[in-house]
């Protein structure tokens, strides 16, 4: 059994460095054959969205993400796992979340990343409030599709 490094879990206001995070995953454990990454960002559109404010529950967030990463490591035999989620106010186009996994073969890394982003969406205590150019503020509603995606891994 190869040694896998501890999952890397960060909740921060600062931008993350995608290249550095990928390099860390790819070099973190001997026997790594592939890494899989998902990065979510603030999606702009014709509706005049200007920014999102990400609120979270300090303490619980880190706990949930750490447990989620540990369960992915175990379930998909991962050799590495990184979860970084930003909080605060983020403009259209700004990166919000980085999910990354490393594994010996591609199937595990790909599945691990998919699992993590699906579960993180509905299981970690983050909430998004949208700010529009016309001054409106709208709390994002949870989507049934996200609940279904998360439940598909039960």
């Amino acid at each position: 059994m190869l040694h896998s490094p501890e999952p890397r879990v960060l909740v921060q206001e600062d931008l993350f460095d995608m290249g550095a995070e990928m390099t860390r995953l790819s070099t973190g454990a001997p026997g790594t054959g592939g890494i899989s990454v998902f990065m979510g960002q603030v999606r702009g559109g014709p509706d005049g969205l200007e920014s999102l404010t990400l609120e979270h529950y300090p303490g619980m967030t880190e706990k949930v993400l750490t447990d989620l990463a540990a369960s992915a490591m175990e379930r998909f035999s991962l050799l590495g796992c990184t979860l970084i989620h930003r909080v605060g106010t983020l403009a259209v186009g700004a990166p919000i979340v980085f999910v990354g996994t490393a594994s010996a073969h591609r199937a595990e890394a790909l599945a691990g990343t998919h699992f993590l982003i699906d579960r993180l969406k509905t299981g970690a205590p983050f909430w998004k409030c949208e700010q529009y150019q016309d001054g409106r503020r709208v709390w994002v509603e949870a989507r049934d599709a996200d609940d279904k995606a998360a439940a598909s891994w039960d």
Binding site: E55, G59, K63, L120, W127, K128, E141
Partner: protein, 87 residues
Amino acid sequence: MTQDVTIFYFAALREQMGREREAVSLPASPMTVDALIQGLRRQDSVMDEVFAASPRLRVAINQTLATFQDTVKPGDELAFFPPMTGG
């Protein structure tokens, strides 16, 4: 040991409640989240209205997701919030 529990509110619920945290005393122990909330709503019309209008509220006890049928103990940290929308 204090009989108090701390309650946090997050996101839209925090704004509707007009506060982000409060300490409340636990009238009995053990009791369910639901029983505690029913009692608080009888004393607080804002909370009663906000909770009535929020059928999908989630609860966490000591920073772990829980249900309204779970038990609250003195010293616990409770949190109420809308469905999560991270990622």
